[in-house]
């Protein structure tokens, strides 16, 4: 455990573990947190895991963790580490995690909550029927290997080509819903078998589809650009690359463990195993990760189509087109450019449970949003608020264009299940006006809101630290889980 006395206060929202704390640290480590969040996270191994990130070969400036921090299995959740590509910096599949491009998509309707409140239960039921968990039966789409390979190359765009959505959907996805350089040959047959029938499925755990109402607007100008207004109905989708991504990570962590000694790399945790980005192993993984990322974007695109189908079935109107506000990845490795010590460097930015938050003017942001910054979508825990924020220039200067990704757990699934039964929790949430449709009551209990940090407090930290700016807050009215 890293003692709290080691932390140096930089601001009320930012703390630093100096490089001198452990001999193998290459850079300091920084935590975005209030004192309370810092103390709470200090009770598990989160900060030891953060210090491990500061040992990655080629890591630049500092290893970071966001206020939704909690212990993970390599990187802490909320971790950000950027390695210099041209200086032997490594790519670590274990740092990016098993759920490659786990992420969040937000859709907006042109309906006000009052117009649909009588039909929310039916909507929840229809979405539950249309979006399978995929933990049992597969999804609606069974692809041949050639079709799956096309999906791995094309991502959300390929899904649109097949008729599941519109070209306009793609404009507001991070990386336009597909990274370049995907080579399906780099993805194992096992990974393809695990994923071949899982498109359009949400999975289990903390994944969900939620119908929400916009409760408060903080930044009216940015909200107007994003097409958001008070009382509007929105839909949030949280899922990733399913079994395909899990297997890609499994395959490549094993490969990396086998080649580290060849590259003279030693690390404090096997799970962080990696190879220099420019080596054949680094390149092969990056290409396979890209396939996993594209699969996840295709998945969220098909789920968008499924949600639209459910809305059409229940509301039977032609004017409730669900439009994409934005779609972000929060487990990913991205090539980005930053100025380090006065020099522009190409970095591989690992984000594990952290969201990209590019500031205004960045060329990768679609022109319709460019002047406000990239939307950052933060799902809360079940039954609590979710947020839309926008990225800032300060994030570009200070946090490798990164922000938090959610509330962050604070209690184990086991402890949550001991404290509440799923059916009781369902009744409690329904008492608060939140419709719940879930395939598993035990799974529901594990995701109880009290098992998470207060999302309002987490978002307040990134807002006050200036690495993202609050735009709108939503409340759930229907939660659909696998």
């Amino acid at each position: 455990m890293v003692p709290l006395t080691v932390f140096q206060k930089i601001t009320t929202c930012l703390w630093e573990i100096p490089k001198s704390y452990r001999a193998d640290m290459r850079v300091p480590a920084r935590v975005y947190a209030t004192k309370e969040i810092l103390e709470e996270a200090g009770r598990d191994s989160s900060f030891d895991q953060l210090v491990n990130l500061a040992t990655l070969p080629g890591v630049q400036r500092y290893a970071l963790v966001m206020p939704d921090v909690h212990e993970g299995y390599g990187s802490p959740v909320g971790g950000v580490a950027a390695t210099a590509i041209e200086e032997g910096g490594i790519i670590s599949p274990g740092m990016i995690g098993y759920d490659i491009n786990c992420g969040v998509r937000l859709l907006r309707t042109n309906l006000a909550f009052d117009e649909v409140k009588e039909r929310i239960g039916d909507l929840g039921t229809a979405i539950f029927r249309e979006v399978p968990s995929g933990v049992g039966r597969g999804g609606r789409m069974k692809l041949s290997t050639a079709e799956l390979d096309a999906m791995l190359r094309g991502g959300a765009g390929e899904m649109v080509e097949r008729g599941y959505g519109d070209a306009e959907d793609l404009e507001h996805l991070e990386s336009v819903g597909a990274l370049a350089g995907a080579d399906p040959e780099k993805v194992s047959p096992t990974a393809k078998k695990r994923g071949h029938d899982q498109l359009g499925t949400m999975g289990a755990g903390n994944h969900f589809v939620e119908v929400q109402r916009v409760e408060e607007i903080f930044d009216h100008e940015a909200a107007a650009k994003l097409g958001l207004r008070a009382e509007q109905v929105t839909v949030m989708i949280h899922t990733g690359s399913r079994g395909l991504g899990h297997q890609v990570a499994t395959d490549y962590i094993r490969i990396m463990l086998g080649v580290m000694s060849k590259y003279g790399i030693t690390l404090p945790d096997r799970e962080l195993a990696g190879a220099p980005f420019t080596t054949p192993e680094g390149q092969n993984y990056f290409s396979a990760m890209t396939c996993g990322a594209n699969f996840a974007w295709a998945n969220r695109q098909l789920i968008t189509w499924e949600v639209r189908k459910a809305f059409q079935e229940i509301l039977d109107t032609r004017d409730q087109a669900l439009e994409v506000v934005y779609d972000v990845a929060h487990n990913m490795g991205k090539i980005e450019e930053y100025e380090i010590d006065g020099r522009k460097k190409r970095l591989l930015v690992h984000r594990k449970g952290a969201t990209r938050s590019f500031g205004p003017g960045h060329s990768e942001i679609h022109e319709s949003y460019r002047e406000i910054g990239q939307p950052v979508i933060i799902p809360g825990s079940m039954g609590t608020h979710s947020y839309v924020l926008v990225g800032t220039a300060h994030a570009m200067a200070e946090s490798f264009g990164s922000s938090c990704h959610g509330a962050g757990r604070t209690m184990s699934r086991h402890a949550a299940k001991r404290r509440v039964r799923g059916d009781m929790l369902k009744r409690e949430l329904e008492g608060k006006g939140i419709v719940v449709r879930s395939g598993s009551m035990a799974g529901l209990a594990e995701e109880a809101p009290f098992a998470y940090k207060d999302v309002d407090a987490v978002v307040e930290v990134v807002h006050r630290a200036g690495i993202a700016k609050k735009v709108a807050r939503m409340r759930p009215v229907a939660v659909i889980k696998g």
Binding site: V135, R137, G205, D269, R270, T410, A442
Partner: protein, 134 residues
């Protein structure tokens, strides 16, 4: 009990024990399977899957064994409640997994991780704790 589920903030931590290395590997497998589909543990196996693994060291061999079983379970929709080892050294194994078909899993285990894994020798034999991403 040859395994027990321990607390972890977000993921799943399972400790297994065994008199022999083979018992430890089997206990770890059963621990993982108990989370995937608990009822499958007590059923008579009807399926056999052969696996062969080589790894740089013993802890990696355990994780690779569990990963292989997990991938096979997910692809074939099966759960394995036992294993017989034809060969088990510190760096390689050949085994037959015994299992049953399932229509669905109770939990979607994403992966067995290498995080902090070590195989400890105890007075009673061996012990290992594995963290799974769920």
């Amino acid at each position: 009990m040859d395994y027990e589920v321990l607390p972890h903030t977000a993921d799943l931590r399972i400790r297994a024990r065994g008199r022999t290395l083979a018992d430890l590997f089997r206990g770890s497998l059963r621990g993982m399977s108990s989370v995937m589909r608990s009822a499958a543990l007590e059923m008579s196996p009807t399926i056999k899957r052969e696996i062969a693994i080589a790894a740089p060291d013993e802890p990696s061999l355990l994780i690779d064994f569990l990963s292989e079983a997990l991938s096979s379970a997910q692809v074939n929709r099966e759960v394995y409640n036992g294993a017989t080892f034809e060969e088990l050294t510190t760096r390689s194994l050949r085994a037959i997994l015994h299992g049953v078909p399932v229509d669905a899993f109770e939990k979607d285990i994403k992966a067995a991780t290498y995080h902090g894994v070590e195989i400890k020798e105890t007075d009673e034999g061996y012990e290992a704790t594995v963290i799974y991403d769920i």
